[in-house]
Amino acid sequence: MRSRLRRAALIAATAAVSFAPLLLAASRTDTLSVSATIAARAKLTLSSGSMAFADADPDTTPVVSPGGGALTIMAKGRTTVGSTVTLVVLASGDLQSGLDAIPIEQLSWAATGTGFVAGTLSHTAAQTVGTWANSGAWTGTQSYQLANSWTYSTGTYTTTLTYTLTAP
């Protein structure tokens, strides 16, 4: 009797499990191809479009700094991976006042910021201001200094500096 009851219970249990609904999750998929184009570009921002060196006694001020202080430079470039973004500066000529000239090599600069380097101006060869591997955005400063001298003739001297940022 006990055996029959156990068997009946087993059948009932089996039946109960078997009648439980077999729930299948329905699913559908679709795909979307996505692309993004990143092109080469460069952007350069200088904190000032001009700077001026005031007159000073060469004995007490052997090196003259511009009145506006350091020039802040923001360089941004997109290039191919492994390439170098380069910022250079070239003077249009010596500091000129009529026929008088102060050699542009008398102007040099110190630099701060990742990738920015110190240098001396030239009007014949572009001088490196900064280099950076791969794409990115960088901010730094250039602190120009004019070597003062008793040999300079009086006058107001000017030149133009051209900065070129290249992201190949």
């Binding site: 078997s18 609904p21 998929t29 979307l32 993004a36 470039g77 997109r78």
Partner: protein, 144 residues
Amino acid sequence: MAAGLLALPAAAAAQTITFSITQSSISFSDADPDTTPSITAPTVTVNYQVTGNKNGNWLITVISGNDLLSGSTAIPITNVTWTATPAPPFQPGTMSKTIQQTVAAGAGNVSTTRTGTVVFSLANSWSYNVGTYSATFTFTMTAP
């Protein structure tokens, strides 16, 4: 015992899902990160319907197969986000290449085909290297 074995049922009446994405591809155009910090792709339309799901939930998810890749160069796929309408059942999110992200969720039947729109955006950055990047997004609708 035999009665139990004979009682093995066929699958319960399964839910029927109709699901599609209208577009097969989208693209993010090149833009200046300073003036366009977030690049928006054309709108994606999601069409969906589910029946036989009276008491169940349904879910639409999306996952990317990988980061945006251009050769060995990558833009993290987490830089892609989306907005979606109508909300609910659609919701905004951030793309993943490891975990299915919910695009829309609801309950019961959707007896007639409905549409939702998804607009993907790519966070723009000067740090991206030049290239044409690609990835594949897989949308899935499941019920329950």
